[in-house]
């Protein structure tokens, strides 16, 4: 085994892999959240569908998305390897162990929280990512007046057609309108979030995300060794308030918004 491979099979090396993939996944959350804010736009999904097209067809984003899928898998596989090794490190369990008196709950249950998140990711990607790429989705046609572009567009549904472009945007000057036709992911999202248990699954998953990141974000920097005393308060603040509260709340607001207001 090369020295490089040895490094990443040591206990500290495996932790480094967890930390780096974890931080990468955290940065992805910001991008994903900002993009998904289009869902709150009151335009029958025009902006969201355009965004979905951009995210799936723009080269550099596609490359990053493959890195992202790899990171999820590596993060989960290394978590399993580490958990197995950690279980082996204590072959006989204590009859009484009061972890609650010396450590936070989230820090002791990262595996359970991570498993909830992995199940969520599979369901979430199956319902949106897989369907967008492979299912026969209808199309939404938006007709926007060139004279009054800020008016709500006229929306109509077009059936699935294998020969149709995923996204097209043409300006018909004679008719005085811009016509945008997109694969209608927005409709799928809207339909999915009308079911109460599906919304509940999302809210529970975001609660798991919150606890996972309250521990995980600061933990990643500790593992890397970035624990400068000026840096630690900033990392803790970001870990708790941005990644632990703001981001999960904003994500959880999406299914709730569709369930109650759409």
């Amino acid at each position: 085994m090369s020295n490089f491979a040895k490094t990443f099979s040591s206990s500290l090396g495996k932790k480094l892999v967890m930390a780096l993939t974890g931080i990468f996944l955290c940065t992805f959350l910001i991008v994903h959240l900002v993009g998904n804010l289009q869902l709150f736009k009151d335009d029958a999904g025009q902006a969201f569908n355009a965004y979905a097209y951009f995210m799936t067809h723009f080269g550099p984003i596609k490359i990053v998305s493959y890195l992202l899928y790899a990171s999820i898998i590596i993060h989960a596989v290394y978590a399993l390897l580490l958990t197995a090794a950690n279980k082996k490190a204590r072959p006989v369990a204590y009859a009484v162990q009061k972890g609650g008196q010396n450590s936070p709950w989230s820090s002791r249950n990262m595996g359970i929280l991570g498993t909830i998140l992995l199940i969520f990711i599979v369901v979430h990607m199956g319902d949106f990512w897989w369907k967008y790429h492979n299912a026969e989705l209808p199309y939404a046609k938006y007709e926007i007046s060139l004279e009054n572009p800020n008016d709500l567009p006229k929306v109509s549904e077009l059936p699935y057609d294998a020969n149709r472009l995923v996204h097209s945007d043409i300006v018909d000057v004679q008719a005085g309108k811009q016509i945008v036709v997109s694969k209608d992911l927005y409709k799928i999202v809207n339909n999915a979030f009308q079911t109460w248990w599906y919304v509940l699954l999302y809210v529970v998953a975001m609660a798991a995300l919150s606890f996972h990141l309250i521990h995980g974000f600061k933990s990643a920097f500790q593992t890397i060794g970035w624990n400068n005393s000026n840096l630690v308060p900033i990392i803790r603040f970001l870990g708790v308030w941005v990644f632990g509260v703001l981001i999960p709340l904003a994500f959880a607001a999406m299914p709730l918004y569709f369930f109650f207001f759409k």
Partner: protein, 250 residues
């Protein structure tokens, strides 16, 4: 005080152990935890039973010999003390106290509550030392060391190697111990020549001994009788990754 003890009894390393109940009556609240066990043992010896084996030496909190996982926590319910510094006034009359040995692959049980902690010695031998030239003794204080650095190194050096960090950790990780031993030398000028070789050798030995890896729960620093901080772990990681990934000389 009258107490019920549930004590782990195990004849030898190979035998299957179990929790056995003992009654400890007329316990003075001023006794230390180990004195209480001494009294229980005297009773057992008088009855012709095998006394409970447990490690102890200085009984003043500096040797690192005593251990015991008491009611689910290493060194009992108080912070910043060893079991020999724990007094029975920390318990209530009629309490049931569960006493177990440190549980870790790296700390096999020898007998009852006594565990073999020589894994820590082997980790130290792997790299926890500095080279010193022979010849005339150099002047004291000839190398300036900033006060904050000296203090930090001293804080790391207060580790007594008791193993409470391993016992407390849900992963039985020895990283607080190893990082304290790495830090106490890595912080000082005298520790520089072997700095990067040391951290690699000690981490390799730690892994070979079968200890788990850190998940940053902070249980170790909460239970450490010397209150050693997990910033040591971050420092060890930093040195290890520097050695493995950035420096080519070491």
């Amino acid at each position: 005080m009258n107490l019920t003890l549930k004590v782990w009894r195990q004849k030898n390393a190979k035998a299957k152990g179990e929790l056995v109940s003992y009654q400890a009556d007329h316990v003075s609240p001023d006794m230390s935890f180990l004195e209480m066990l001494d009294v229980v043992n005297e009773g057992l010896i008088k009855k012709g039973d095998d006394p409970i084996h447990f490690d102890h030496d200085c009984r003043e909190g500096i040797c690192g010999s005593c251990s015991l996982h008491i009611n689910g926590r290493p060194h009992g319910p108080k912070q910043g003390i060893t079991t020999c510094q724990l007094h029975m006034r920390s318990f209530n009359d009629k309490d049931t106290i569960v006493i177990e040995p440190w549980r870790a692959e790296g700390f096999p049980v020898i007998k009852d509550l006594s565990t073999d902690r020589s894994a820590f010695d082997r980790i130290q031998v792997a790299g926890g030392f500095i080279s010193v030239n022979t010849g005339g003794a150099p002047d004291a204080n000839v190398i300036p060391i900033p006060k904050v650095v000296a203090d930090e190194a001293f804080n790391s050096a207060t580790c007594i190697g008791c193993g409470a960090c391993v016992a407390a950790c849900k992963n039985a990780s020895a990283m607080l111990f190893v990082s304290a031993k790495v830090s106490q030398l890595a912080l000082l000028p005298q520790g520089q020549p072997e700095r990067y070789r040391r951290v690699q050798a000690m981490v390799a030995q730690m892994d070979a001994e079968g200890f788990g890896s850190c998940t940053n729960t902070g249980a170790c620093e909460a239970e450490c009788p010397k209150e050693i901080s997990i910033t040591n772990i971050a420092r060890m990681n930093r040195d290890y990754f520097t050695a493995k990934l950035l420096k080519s000389e070491e």
